[in-house]
């Protein structure tokens, strides 16, 4: 079996019924898709299979033999965020970040399908099976809508933070 993952083609040696999720994570070390539930219920394993969002935990690798897979690693670079990534960053749509890979893949696919601004109910329909336990959904839905309208761009205006801790002095803080 062969897969092209984020543009790189690989021969796959995992057994044919292995979930695509584990092939990506354990055979190819592509770790952005997460094993949140391994039963289709949470959405954090979602990747694009030939451009369409699929739950990688529900997909036997043999069923996508030859396909082209895109994961969050393949969407943008830290220096060159895609509009959806930039919107999630700028609008604080990721807290712990564990649901973020699936959210961004589903949102990216939705915006591609629609090819223009997406409305709130369309986001709810497309992302309705994705769970986030931290952020609540308001910021996530706002981020997807903003990204679809190109309303991102003041990322540069945010103060730059150092690696590690944020460059914030809090005088008199007990911590």
């Amino acid at each position: 079996m062969r897969l092209t993952v984020n543009g790189i083609e690989s021969e796959i040696s995992s057994p044919p019924l292995t979930p695509l999720l584990h092939v990506l994570r354990d055979e190819l070390d592509v770790t952005s898709p997460k094993a949140g539930c391994q039963q289709g219920g949470c959405g954090t394993c979602t990747v694009l299979v030939d451009g369409e969002p699929r739950r990688s935990c529900l997909t036997p690798v043999a069923a996508v033999d030859g396909a082209s897979i895109t994961t969050l690693e393949g969407v943008g670079e830290p220096e060159r965020l895609s509009p959806v990534q930039a919107a999630f960053y700028e609008k604080y749509a990721a807290q712990c970040g564990f649901c973020t890979p699936g959210m961004i893949m589903a949102a990216t696919a939705l915006i591609d399908r629609k090819g223009g601004p997406v409305e709130r109910d369309e986001v709810l329909e497309a992302l309705g099976g994705h769970y986030c336990r931290c952020t609540g959904y308001v910021k996530i839905v706002d981020a997807v809508m903003a990204a679809s309208r190109g309303e991102v761009g003041d990322v540069q205006d945010l103060p730059v933070s150092e690696a590690g801790e944020p460059s914030v002095e809090v005088h008199g803080s007990p911590a």
């Binding site: 019924l17 699929r54 739950r55 997909t59 036997p60 069923a63 497309a126 309705g128 099976g129």
Partner: protein
């Protein structure tokens, strides 16, 4: 031990490899089987993967709509199928799961441990759908309700047939929890053709059931003669008993007014 994996390239090859189904686990979309596999609850000896067997697609053939077993539930949402089937398809799982989940898997799904399954069953029964399957004794075609109430093991579903004029009027009323992944608490589907009613319920027991008492009397209360609701994680049997007659009444009312 790793299972032997068979990937037929045509419907005929699928039927041949399937044989009488002994020791074979059929993988369609995998949305039910993959979690079972991951949790170790099933350990297939031989797996038959249907994704390449050409069993997907909806086509119109004279007066009959033919839906391949591997047709994704997503394709029923806005595909050329009766409204009654579409409406219940939109309620299955979420956008992404529906792309993988198949109609064949939906009617072959064994009862779940925490909820009932096969939510499309009510619509299919009401529409008088027929199941074409292969297996021991060769191919056969039978009414969905007979397929569901019979022994489904040993059958490989190839296709679902629905008459184009299956319903002149139809009515639906269902109850589910308000989140994307809720299985039906109860789905009621009713279709009328040539003055004859077909009434069915899904989600209240191991398989969908045709409600002949209601068909005869048109009395919603009689639905409790036809089905015996179960307790599960989505609802209690008592709750189902309470709402079922109301749902039937609602579906009948909608039928009248459409």
């Amino acid at each position: 031990m790793a299972p032997q994996v068979l990937i037929p390239q045509s419907a005929d090859e699928a039927a041949t490899l399937y044989g009488d189904g002994e020791g074979i686990t059929v993988f369609a979309g995998g949305t039910i089987l993959m979690p079972e596999l991951a949790s170790g609850r099933i350990r297939p000896e031989r797996a038959l993967l249907l994704h390449a067997s050409g069993l997907s697609g909806i086509r119109s053939d004279g007066g009959v709509i033919r839906i391949g077993a591997m047709t994704p539930v997503a394709a029923l949402v806005d595909g050329p199928v009766p409204w009654l089937l579409s409406i219940y398809a939109t309620h299955v799982a979420d956008y992404e799961v529906r792309q993988s989940a198949t109609i064949g898997g939906n009617i072959c799904a064994p009862p779940g441990r925490e909820s009932q399954r096969g939510d499309l069953g009510a619509a299919l029964i009401a529409l008088g759908a027929r199941v074409r399957s292969a297996g021991k004794g060769g191919e056969r075609t039978e009414a969905v309700e007979d397929f569901l109430s019979g022994d489904r093991s040993g059958r490989l579903v190839l296709e679902i047939e629905i008459d184009v004029d299956a319903a002149r009027k139809s009515g639906a009323s269902g109850k589910r929890r308000k989140h994307a992944h809720s299985y039906a608490i109860a789905n009621v589907a009713i279709a009328e053709r040539d003055g004859e009613l077909r009434v069915a319920v899904a989600g209240v027991g191991p398989t969908a059931v045709r409600c002949r008492s209601v068909e005869a009397s048109r009395d919603p209360q009689d639905v409790l003669e036809d089905v015996d609701p179960v307790d599960d994680a989505v609802a209690t049997a008592e709750y189902r008993r309470q709402i079922l007659p109301l749902l039937v009444r609602e579906a009948l009312d909608r039928l009248e007014t459409e």
